[in-house]
Amino acid sequence: MINSIYTVLGMACGHCADAVTEELERVPGVTAVEVHVEADRVSVTSDRELDLAQVRAAVEEAGYELTAHNT
């Protein structure tokens, strides 16, 4: 299992967290998503190395902005 941490801007509440989680769970290989709204942080667990472009696209699709990949 691989755990990656991303900085995502624009999240404000639980509904934001749900939208980001829903899109990230569609990315192939993702097994779990944990969102920390106040910290602008999203933790993604996957069974393979994730393509940053795919992760970014998922976050963008939800309407948010991925600004950093911290792992």
Partner: protein, 146 residues
């Protein structure tokens, strides 16, 4: 924007959120300028325990503009005391091909010119389309942040 002191509390709170949302979605104006028209610079909003300052509020305009939620706001009751207001309302939202509704318990403080200074909101999701107990301010189809 009308000051709270000159307004019916229900109309004030409905008008505040409706107008703010409409301005955000109307064009590509700098969101910081719009946020500043409706909030004091030291704004702190706490929604379900999540704290938002001015910067986070501005950042949150991006998904609002991207997702362009359609919402209808029903204000069930609202009371004002000086510069503070308490209200209970339901937001019916259509966003990203989904519908949901949330009942909101709102406590806020506003500056004399009608800008928001502080807000605490607790929300609970209710079945989409469920009518509030007394629809007192059906505003029609309006865009509002979810």
């Amino acid at each position: 924007m009308r000051p709270l002191s000159d307004s019916d509390p229900k109309e004030f709170i409905a008008g505040f959120f409706t107008s703010f949302s409409e301005e955000l979605l109307r064009d590509d104006e700098d969101p910081a300028a719009i946020v500043d028209r409706y909030h004091t610079k030291d704004i702190i909003e706490t929604a379900d325990g999540h704290r938002m300052d001015r910067d986070k509020l501005i950042a949150h305009t991006r998904p609002v503009r991207k997702n362009r939620p359609i919402s209808r706001m029903e204000v069930h009751e609202a009371v004002a005391d000086g510069d503070r207001i308490a209200a209970r309302y339901t937001l019916h939202v259509q966003q990203r091909k989904k519908e949901f509704a949330m009942e909101v318990y709102f406590f806020g403080q506003f500056a004399g010119d009608g800008r928001m200074r502080r807000a605490h909101m607790l929300t609970r999701t209710v079945p989409a389309g469920e009518k509030g107990d007394q629809a007192t301010a059906a505003l029609g189809e309006q865009a509002a942040p979810a």
